[in-house]
């Protein structure tokens, strides 16, 4: 009779298994260090009377040149997680506990001043709406040069040259003309390219993209994603892509982490998630992708609404909406089940005890 715990202990000892625990124990065993390692991160937003537990124990890692997609609905905590990493949380936000290690350095509790030196140069972020992400009263060129001015020691002509080079790199034609234009003079797709240029100006090791294509037309979306993919190989950046759109994920991600109710409920490689998803929420997401070929005429949605994180549910956050919920699901938060070295799912259904109960039922039929 295997106990669950010994299996996981064995998993920890296994050197193949690297990707999804943040345990310090892993480092002790001399593993190769990931570029970015997040362990058990917990973030809350405190208002007068309430505290919203936005991120409740998130762990993941990111390797060089890798693209990780974090998928989830609004309110799942995906934006807060990355904002916490970069110390861009709102005034009410606080990292309660956990560890963030960027390129070997622990930046969990580092000062804002130190973080400012990293932001824009080692790790940068682009946001959803390019129209509002750019200062409307400053020319595009100046905004890009601002990053260079802040982090690099370059002469003005060198900065301008670099800016023009960047504009060309992101596929903007007539860079000299665009350099002195204002954001409202550019189209939506062009603006997002500018934003990408700004983010990549100092060759950061990590690029975080928070829903970069949500505000764009579908055709432009594809262009921007292609651009990001090609830039990634050119500049050797790792990308964390946050989205609620699985279609985008399939396009460009290597790894996927699915978030719900402030936790990662399932994570794995793109193939594992799309073809071998285990968690009911992930399955629901995949099922709700409209299929052009075949399939029924009815769109499948996941009924219900996300949980209120001021008073998070005791057990699995998805339990209230899960069709396969069991008694244990509502009582105890599920532990990670390691399905393969890279594929984990936080669901009681994968627990051996669940399979046994199902097996028993099957026998009765």
């Amino acid at each position: 009779m295997e106990s669950f715990f010994s299996a996981s202990e064995r998993g920890r000892n296994n050197k193949e298994f690297r990707n999804f625990t943040g345990n310090a124990a892993v480092q002790k065993w001399g593993q190769k260090m990931s570029l970015l390692e997040v362990s058990d991160l917990r973030i809350s937003l405190r208002t007068h009377d309430d505290a919203v537990r936005a991120v409740r124990g998130v762990s993941f890692s990111l390797e060089p040149k890798e693209t990780l997609a974090i998928v989830g609905e609004s309110g799942s905590g995906k934006s807060m997680t990355v904002k916490g990493i970069m110390k861009l949380l709102p005034k009410t936000g606080r990292i309660e506990s956990g560890k963030i290690v960027l390129d070997g350095r622990d930046i969990t509790r580092c000062s804002e001043r130190r973080m400012r030196r990293l932001n824009g140069s080692e790790i940068s972020m682009i946001f959803q709406d390019p129209m509002t992400s750019l200062n409307p009263t400053m020319t595009v060129g100046k905004q890009i040069m601002e990053v260079l001015r802040e982090h690099e020691k370059m002469s003005r002509p060198a900065m301008k040259a670099r800016t023009l080079e960047l504009l060309g790199l992101v596929g903007i034609s007539y860079p000299e003309k665009r350099f002195s234009q204002y954001p409202h003079q550019l189209s939506g797709g062009m603006r997002q390219r500018v934003v990408i240029a700004m983010a990549l100006a100092c060759n950061p090791k990590v690029l975080v993209a928070d829903e970069p294509t949500t505000a764009l037309d579908v055709t432009i979306q594809a262009q921007i994603l292609d651009l990001m993919k090609s830039l990634q190989s050119r500049i050797s950046t790792s990308i964390i892509l946050i989205t609620h759109n699985l279609g985008v994920v399939a396009n460009i991600a290597d790894k996927v982490a699915v978030m719900y109710g402030g936790k990662i409920v399932e994570s794995g490689t793109v193939e594992e998630i799309f073809y071998g998803a285990q968690h009911p929420y992930t399955l629901g997401l995949i099922a709700s992708i409209p299929k052009i070929h075949g399939g029924s005429a009815e769109l499948k949605a996941i009924p219900g609404t996300p949980p209120d994180l001021t008073d998070p549910p005791k057990g699995c956050p998805f339990a209230p909406r899960c069709e396969k919920a069991m008694k244990v699901c509502r009582l105890i938060p599920p532990e990670d089940t390691r399905i393969t070295a890279t594929h984990r799912s936080a669901c009681w259904l994968q627990h051996p005890l669940a399979r046994r109960a199902a097996g028993k039922e099957g026998n009765h039929e």
Binding site: D308, M326, K327, A357
Partner: protein, 307 residues
């Protein structure tokens, strides 16, 4: 987390709590209820409201607290500073200042409220008609408003005051004539904005008759703007009346309003400053309360400021 033991019997399907999925976390509230609750949370606004009500009560009942009235003269007791008999002192004719101040407040408030009401009536009608008619009629009506707004209010008021026989009625009419343009503009803008919103389209698609759309959808949503604007029109009217009376163009002795009283006090600023301080304090208090209340209302009605 490890409080419970994992036993097999936990791993059976739970009863479907279907209601739980669609559970709405907080109770629903209507627009006005919501605004009222938010207003109550704003402590400053609540204090302002209470103070204002107190002042209004005093304006009507104040003079009856003492045995003096506002017009009886007593030449033996002129220019008395505040004392136990005359709580606010007496003026140059020996009249009780307490009664005069509250009587004056009453006059100022009445003028302001009536002017604001007229302002509202004309402005809302004009604005909504303009917005609902649309097209050419709207364009013409808009031009008229724009020209009117281009003329400084005070000039209109002063000119009208000169032409019409002096008196409270004239003052009220003059102030409303110059003031309605702003309300009309706001109401029109709000209705235009609402007219084009999707819930109106939805109502139309559902077959709701126009009359119902206006009454049930457009007007209630405009109320917010109207109420807020009125909250600012009233103090503006108080100010205008006081201003005009102060420089001698509005009401004059023997009629009493806050402006007249402040002017009288100013005349004797060298010797009997209290006659200036008291009505000044009252008018400042009123204006401040309206200002805070108006701001509070504006925040309470603003859907983007939900906590």
């Amino acid at each position: 987390m490890q409080g419970m033991e994992l036993t097999e019997d936990l791993f059976v399907p739970a009863e479907a709590g279907a209601g739980e999925r669609e559970k709405i976390a907080r109770p629903t509230r209507s627009g006005f209820q919501d605004a009222w609750i938010r207003l109550k949370r704003n402590k400053g606004a609540v204090v302002a409201l209470v103070l204002l009500l107190a002042l209004v009560v005093l304006a009507f009942l104040g003079p009856s607290f003492t045995r003096f009235d506002y017009y009886t003269t007593d030449y033996g007791a002129i220019f008395q500073p505040p004392n136990a008999v005359h709580w606010f002192g007496t003026d140059k004719f020996g009249r009780d200042e307490w009664s005069r101040v509250w009587y004056g407040t009453r006059i100022s408030l009445l003028i302001a409220v009536v002017a604001a009401a007229l302002d509202l009536l004309v402005g809302v009608t004009y604005g909504s008609v303009s917005a609902l008619l649309g097209g050419m009629a709207d364009a013409v009506m808009q031009r008229v408003i724009e020209v009117l707004i281009g003329i400084p209010n005070l000039i209109i008021v002063i000119l009208l005051m000169m032409v019409m026989p002096a008196g409270i009625g004239t003052l009220i009419i003059a102030m409303s004539i110059s003031g309605w343009a702003n309300m009309a503009r706001l109401v029109r803008a709000e209705i235009l904005k609402l007219k084009n919103q999707e819930f109106v389209l939805a109502a139309r698609l559902l077959g709701t008759p126009d009359r119902r759309i206006i009454l049930r959808h457009l007007i209630p949503n405009t109320m917010g703007v109207i109420v807020i604007n009125t909250m600012f029109t009233i103090p503006s009217a108080i100010f205008t009346e006081a201003f005009l009376s102060f420089i001698g163009i509005g009401l004059q002795e023997p009629k009493a309003s806050l402006g007249v009283l402040i002017n009288s006090g100013f005349q004797v600023i060298n010797s009997h400053v209290f006659l200036l301080f008291v009505p000044a304090a009252v008018i400042v208090l009123i204006m401040v309360c309206f200002s805070i209340l108006g701001d509070g209302l504006r925040d309470a009605f603003d859907p983007q400021m939900r906590t």
